[in-house]
């Protein structure tokens, strides 16, 4: 699905990257813990999160994520928006909660960037 289709599905507001709405989204990762994002999200993955500080943009930059959807109506502060503009990271904000956001996207064909973590991690 494209970012535009996603925006429509989620009734989302585009905060940064309105010129990138034709970009194709393949898969996603959802978390409010940036270390888990760094551990599991892949290049080109969409991030669904409630974290709105500049570090979330840095994380997206490091991993070359395709964009970020902020859930629960959250919007990043000015510093984060500026950083996203510089780093060209599309940002969207939806009022849906994280569960609903993931559900709606999954139902429309988006999948997780991984299905589950490796056994060695789950045991700890």
């Amino acid at each position: 699905m494209t970012l535009r289709e996603m925006k429509d599905l989620l009734g989302a507001e585009v905060l940064v990257g309105s010129e990138c709405m034709d970009v194709e989204v393949r898969d996603a990762f959802a978390a409010d813990l940036l270390s888990d994002v760094l551990a599991f999200a892949k290049e080109g993955t969409l991030l669904i999160t409630g974290i709105t500080n500049p570090q979330v943009i840095r994380t997206a930059e490091m991993l070359e994520l395709i964009g970020i959807v902020f859930v629960r109506g959250k919007k990043p502060d000015e510093d984060a928006i500026k950083l996203a503009q510089i780093k060209k990271v599309p940002l969207l904000s939806t009022r849906y909660i994280m569960f609903e956001t993931c559900g709606r996207l999954f139902r429309n064909g988006l999948v997780g960037c991984i299905e589950r973590v490796e056994d060695d991690r789950a045991e700890e």
């Binding site: 409010d32 813990l33 940036l34 270390s35 888990d36 994002v37 760094l38 551990a39 290049e43 999160t49 974290i51 500080n53 500049p54 570090q55 979330v56 840095r58 994380t59 930059e61 490091m62 991993l63 070359e64 510093d79 991690r121 700890e124």
Partner: protein, 148 residues
Amino acid sequence: MIEQRNEEPLLEQEFTVEGGDFIHAGEVSSKIKKILKEIGASQEVVRRAAIATYEAEMNVVCYAKRGDFHLAITPERLEIVIQDEGQGIEDIDLAMKEGFSTASEEIREMGFGAGMGLPNIKKNVDDLLITSVVGEGTKVTMLILTKR
């Protein structure tokens, strides 16, 4: 154990990270990532180095007064040494355990401090050496083999 490199680096660079500077946190990692891309390092190497460096940079910002990053690149390997001035780590084995953290509420609210940083670094590098003196600081040496 990290072996001494036997070749002169093609490129060496120093960066400084200020502790507590959350606004600029990530800039050094961003610069290092850019350098690696420019010299044509593989996507995999760039990705692993970016994640490890960023976690290390966040550690300096969250826990230390300052940290000096030293990047050295040879044809075979990428070495990043971080020497910080700070509280140091009392029990390194414990700090390496997933889920162990001494992070403040503030750090946790930012989406870090869940005890994943050092394990995450370890996962992304070929060799990792951490030494620390409590009350003085911590030295982290990360090695990534560029040809494997």
